[in-house]
């Protein structure tokens, strides 16, 4: 059961502070981490390996520092990492990114399953997983919350839809994107960290990949960001301090009036 897991290194947005005056993000000291939703893909991959054997290769497209994310994944329990890095990949949108990742996956080869996280917390599109499946013509299941069964030939999954779960059977090789319900991600172990330090991570670049240059980087991206606004987080609503029993009664009364005024009842 050989598995490939594409991951992304993203800014750690939970501690992001916004400059209240200018409304811009204070980037100094913002850490990069493995995209939190990719941790679930890694966790599922490791569980499947524990049950069925095989090898897990993680790959990531990013600057040289992204190898840190690969090492962390290896420390969690993956076997190998590939860094896909080249200045020419910079500025890629999801179209160009999914092309580049799919070409790397072709080179890594010999896989039964590609597992991706549902989406990345910075771009937040969820488009790269399905994009890779389209490029590689792999059967696709998105928003997978559970793997029911897997064997040499097929995988049966439960996929999150609006009114419940859809149960799909896909032949292997296939690509799935996963949601948090697949399981709680484990922490890297000391043994894993030792292994990660000792593992050599090869770099794929335009030098050793046979790429169509019109499909990579900013130039290969059909979409362009033309404007960025920093919305101020404030609605300046009425905030009431609630003290004692009388306070609760009058607060509830005011809330009721507010809801009626706004035609919400």
């Amino acid at each position: 059961m050989n598995i490939i897991i594409p991951i992304k290194q993203v800014p750690e947005t939970s501690n992001v502070k916004m400059d209240k005056e200018t409304g811009t993000m204070i980037r100094d000291g913002v850490e990069t981490v493995i995209n939190p939703l990719d941790l679930y893909a890694i966790e599922l991959g490791i569980r499947l390996k524990e049950e069925h054997g095989g090898k897990i290769t993680v790959c990531t497209m990013g600057p040289p520092s992204a190898s840190k994310a690969l090492k962390e994944a290896i420390a969690m329990g993956c076997d190998a990492g590939v860094l896909i890095s080249d200045r020419k990949f910079a500025g890629a949108d999801t179209w160009a990114t999914s092309y580049t990742l799919s070409e790397a996956i072709k080179i890594i080869g010999d896989y039964d399953l590609v597992i991706a996280g549902e989406r990345a917390t910075d771009g937040d599109t969820g488009q790269v997983g399905p994009g890779i499946a389209a490029w590689l013509n792999l059967p696709l299941a998105t928003y997978v919350s559970k793997v029911d069964t897997i064997n040499q030939n097929s995988i049966t999954v439960e996929r999150l839809v609006e009114d419940g779960y859809q149960i799909l059977k896909l032949p292997l090789p296939a690509l799935i994107t996963v949601v948090k319900e697949v399981g709680v991600p484990r922490l890297p172990t000391l043994r894993g960290k030792k292994k990660a330090r000792a593992t050599n991570v090869p770099v794929f670049s335009t030098e050793n990949m046979n790429l169509d240059h019109s499909c990579i980087g900013l130039k290969g991206s059909p979409t362009r960001v033309v404007k960025i606004d920093y919305p101020k987080v404030s609605r300046a609503g009425k905030i009431m301090k609630v003290d004692g029993d009388d306070g609760v009664d009058s607060a509830v009364e005011e809330l009721l009036e507010f809801l009626i005024r706004r035609q919400l009842l």
Binding site: T13, S14, M25, L37, D93, W95, S98, T125, G126, Q127, V128, G129, P130, G131, A134, P139, L140, T142, Y143, S145, V161, E162, D163, G164, Y165, Q166, I167, L168, L170, V179, K180, E181, S221, P222, T223, R224, V225, V226, K227, D229, Y230, P231, V233, S234, R235, G237, K238, I239, M240, K241, V242, G247, V248, A251, V252, L255, L256, F258, R262, L265
Partner: protein
């Protein structure tokens, strides 16, 4: 003439509300370009009167590819069909809903058709002169709003959040064309099979479709206390949701998690109790029409985004609120 397409969704022969929400978005764009507005439906067993509703709610044309083999959403087949339609009819713009299927189908098609796609747009507009679709959406945990264009590729594609716009009222005087198309055999990809569906509750509610959401966070202290929120939800016709903390503690299940790694919601009313308002949670509720927060910490971030806030003990406030709503329901005041 240019055309704006909206991808409709159906389930067991019934059209989903999101199909009509897309039409109201599409109508604004089509009118700006003097284009025709179309609903595109891949499905099965949808009646003529149901198809008429597309026209009554703004569509000029309905394309219906009618086949039992399209009843279930299997991305490969749906993608083949939509790609084939795009190559034949060459629409200018395609909008789909940011639903489980929309967010799977559109990126798949964007690759095969070679065009750009922006997901989860909160605003859409047509640029004067170029007729490019201006696609605006939040990014970086909701800290920025980015506007994106696809300057050199066609069609212009975007997905839009459910409930972020209201359907146009039904206008029975509107006329339009209904075009039924057959499913071409070579479009069917039979590699993937749908074995069935499962709901884990008798009343699985879709929190993204809810008009009112009542949510609890760490301040609820334990699972049993969510009963207070369930009671409130019953009185308001709401769906109960939770913060990431509440889900991680097992107080509520993942489909009801609100925030960056959960669902983004746009209800008319959101009430958050015992939720401090971490930036990832706020990203999930920013487009709610009205936000009410109940928290004992006056410094809680959620109060920055609240239209109405109560700084106090939710265990004192919620029971009284529930009782007062009871009285309001009985007495009308």
């Amino acid at each position: 003439m240019n055309s704006v397409w909206t991808i409709a969704e159906q389930s067991k022969g019934k059209l989903k509300a999101v199909s009509f929400e897309l039409l109201s978005r599409g109508r604004l764009l089509a009118d700006k370009m003097n284009a025709e507005l179309c609903s595109v439906l891949l499905g099965s067993a949808v009646s003529d009167s149901a198809l008429q509703e597309f026209i009554q709610r703004g569509a000029d044309v309905v394309y219906f590819v009618d086949s039992v083999r399209l009843e279930h959403f299997i991305v490969e087949t749906h993608s083949n069909v939509l790609t084939d339609l795009i190559r034949e009819y060459k629409p200018h713009t395609i909008l789909a809903a940011a639903t489980s299927s929309g967010r799977t189908l559109m990126p798949h098609v964007a690759i095969t058709v070679k065009t750009g796609l922006t997901a989860d747009c909160t605003e859409l507009d047509i640029e004067d002169g170029t007729n490019h679709l201006l696609q605006t959406r939040p990014a970086i945990g909701g800290n920025i709003m980015a506007t994106i264009k696809t300057p050199n590729h066609s069609p212009q594609m975007a997905t839009v959040r459910p409930k972020s716009s209201r359907p146009l009222p039904q206008d029975a005087t509107r006329t339009g064309k209904i075009i039924r198309l057959p499913l071409k055999d070579e479009m069917v990809d039979s590699r993937v099979q749908v074995l069935g569906y499962r709901t884990d509750k008798a009343d699985f509610s879709n929190i993204e479709e809810a008009e009112v959401v009542v949510a609890g966070g760490r301040g609820m202290k334990k699972a049993e206390n969510f009963a207070l929120l369930k009671t409130l939800a019953e009185k308001l016709g709401a769906v109960v949701g939770g913060s990431r903390d509440a889900v991680d503690r097992g107080w509520i299940t993942y489909p009801y998690q609100i925030g960056l790694s959960g669902k983004t919601i746009s209800p008319r009313l959101y009430i958050g109790a015992g939720i401090s308002g971490a930036i990832q949670h706020l990203a999930g509720i920013k487009t709610a029409e009205c936000i009410v927060a109940i928290n004992s910490d006056p410094e809680a971030n959620i109060f920055d985004l609240a239209d109405f806030g109560l700084v106090g003990d939710l265990f004192a406030i919620l029971p009284k609120l529930n009782a007062r709503l009871d009285r309001y329901a009985k007495e009308g005041k």
